[in-house]
Amino acid sequence: MKHFVVGVLPYLTFLILVFGLIYRIRGWYASKVKYQLNLFPAPDTPGGEILKEILFFKTLYRFERPLWVMSYGFHLGIFLIFIGHIAGIAFAGHQFTLFGATPEQSEKLSFAFGMLAGTLAFFGALALLLRRLSGQVKQVSDPWDYIDLLLILAIVTTGNAMRTLAPVELFAVKKYFADLFSLRPINYELPTAFVIHYFFGQILLMYLPFSKLLHLAGGLINKAIILTGDGKAKLLKL
């Protein structure tokens, strides 16, 4: 079982993720935008608006401030985790040496950023879950909406545990990924905490292309339709 999760499943996960993404996004582009469906006032630079949407969650900030606080914290956490995983594993915690830190300082910084990201994501997800369980938002939720958050919480919690309660050696993880990427057999043991975390992570990645989590792509494509002006000149500039 453990071997399956670390030695076989990752390749499956990869295929499902990549083909899933291609399949879904191609599906969207197969259907058309026949009419001009934007909302006014149309921004001068739709691209810039999209960027503001990605960087700041502008619409949510404008109309749903309390949700923005939770959501922004949560997503910022996820984003830092994403970056942190790539850098942290690739450099085994020594990524900050690139900016002149000593290896020990880098490990400390890596730990601190990990704490920040893990805390943001955990409390963000928890806040979103509690919000979803209460009153108005509960009315619009289906089982999957909870499952999404619980799954993320499971990943974040096991991740946080590996940083604090059951530390995992980053060098071992780095070696594992190096072996995995170069298709070498994985014939050694990995810490159980890691395997559990890793398993949930892969479930998320496989499930991502087929779920509402794909809002990160579809949502932005939709927003672009709304934001792009119709390019017609006004009779009078007011």
Binding site: S31, I147, S211
Partner: protein, 442 residues
């Protein structure tokens, strides 16, 4: 549950009444077809994160307090079928995602709730992803039409449109009589012979709302006075005295046919410019959909407020705000004019010139709330629902303390007086060109 009455005879629509079994059998295929056609509908079905930002943005939910009127939950009525039947991996994920199959009862629910949506697009404004439940609503009404479910009221309008070129069913002799009467009225008032030319060749083809020849006559008078004062030759086409294009709300074919008629008339009258009168969705259909429906076209399409603002700004017409008195005016942004049609600042510019006291209501401009009858929800039998849909508007108006609401859209003009009466607001209401007509110096 207050649903419009369904038409028993759909002519001249190209659909027929189906029995329940046939409806259920066909529904999924039609949804699939619509998703393949429209990216926005597809994305709305697949990408909502259920964050709930739309809940308190929707006047329909705020007024009725019925959870199915929450935009995302309204969309769920069809999204649940989509998840079950169409979404990739639906077999595995569908049920847990709240998926359900189509049933006759579900279709009835669609009919009820998608006809409690005013297609005002406020949800699209507040959604972080711009998911537009109005677009979903348009699509679902289209699906319902293809399944033979259309309100009797709407079919009546399509019938009148096909027979006479306007929603009310005014034939040319009646139109000529009405124009002559309005010309006499203007002569009596001003001592000047101001014309309302019908079917004459002119650069400008003005398309009024047919309701301007029944109740909102001052709107028509305002327009006639304005073009007279500007010294510009204009005309109205007897074959389409209807800016409103009800097809936008529920049927693409009807929309296209109306739009084609509009363009044909412009060609026949050698018009270089089509000017749309005070109708919200008709403006959206003409401005935003013409290219996609029958385009590209070489005729310019403008709104009457663009014209009026331009004439005022350039000094082509002169106006005197004194003539509209000391009372306080406020402005209601028709959804399809503002959010969906970019006529946001022009009416304000005009108002500031034609009245002395103008106050904004909150929220305003693209954030404004619907009057509660948008998307053609003018059926008498759903009056109770209509009043609930107008509740937020009534509260907004009340807070302004204004005496007079300016609402330049025939649907708003039909709905608002009833709303004000129902909520005991002693305010008057009219279009904007009405006030231009009163303030204009001839």
């Amino acid at each position: 549950m207050n649903a419009p009455q369904k038409a028993k005879d759909l002519a001249p629509l190209p659909y027929r009444i189906l029995d329940d079994e046939e409806k259920v059998r066909k529904a999924v295929a039609i949804i699939r077809e619509k998703a393949a056609e429209s990216r926005m509908f597809k994305l709305a079905m697949e990408c909502c994160t259920k964050c709930g930002a739309c809940i308190n943005a929707c006047h329909s939910y705020l007024g009725t307090e019925d959870p199915y009127n929450i935009p995302t939950k309204r969309a769920d009525l069809v999204r649940s079928v989509y998840k079950q039947e169409i979404m990739p991996l639906s077999g595995v994920l569908g049920k847990v995602a709240g998926g359900i199959g189509v049933s006759a009862e579900l279709l009835e629910k669609w009919f009820t709730y998608f006809y409690q949506c005013n297609q005002c697009r406020r949800c699209a404004l507040v959604c972080p992803f711009g998911i537009d439940t109005a677009e979903v609503s348009i699509m679902v009404r289209q699906i319902l039409a293809e399944l033979g479910m259309v309100p009797r009221f709407t079919v009546g309008i399509v019938k009148n449109m096909a027979n006479t070129g306007n929603n009310m069913g005014i034939a040319k002799p009646a139109l000529l009589d009405s124009c002559e009467f309005l010309e006499e009225e203007m002569y009596e008032e001003t001592g000047i012979k101001i014309r309302i030319p019908v079917d004459e060749e002119a650069d400008i083809m003005y398309v009024p709302s047919s309701a301007d020849f029944f109740v909102n006559t001052n709107t028509m008078i305002g327009v006639a006075k304005m073009y007279h004062a500007a010294g510009i030759k204009w005309t109205i086409p007897s074959e389409i005295i209807e800016a409103a294009n009800f097809g936008l709300f529920f049927d693409e074919k009807v929309m296209k046919e109306h739009n084609r008629r509009l363009l044909d008339c412009a060609k026949k009258l050698k018009a270089k410019k089509i000017v749309q009168g005070e109708c919200g969705h008709g403006w959206r259909a003409a401005r935003m959909y013409t290219d996609g429906l029958n385009g590209p076209v070489d005729v310019e399409i403008r709104h009457i407020h663009e014209e009026a603002a331009y004439f005022i700004a350039r000094g082509i017409i002169k106006v005197d705000p004194e003539k509209n008195g000391d009372i306080v005016y406020t402005y209601h942004d028709p959804c399809n004019l503002a959010r969906a049609g970019d006529i946001i600042e022009e009416p304000r510019f005009i108002l500031r010139h034609v009245v002395k006291n103008f106050v904004e209501m909150t929220p305003n401009r693209e954030e404004n709330f619907c009057c509660g009858a948008g998307s053609g929800l003018l059926m008498e039998e759903i009056m109770e629902t209509r009043m609930k849909l107008g509740k937020v508007k009534a509260e907004q108006v009340k807070k302004t303390g204004a005496d007079y609401v300016v609402a330049p859209c025939s649907i708003c003009k039909a709905q608002l007086p009833l709303v004000f009466e129902y909520y005991n607001l002693p305010v008057e209401m009219s279009g904007l060109m009405d006030l231009v007509g009163k303030a204009i110096i001839l």
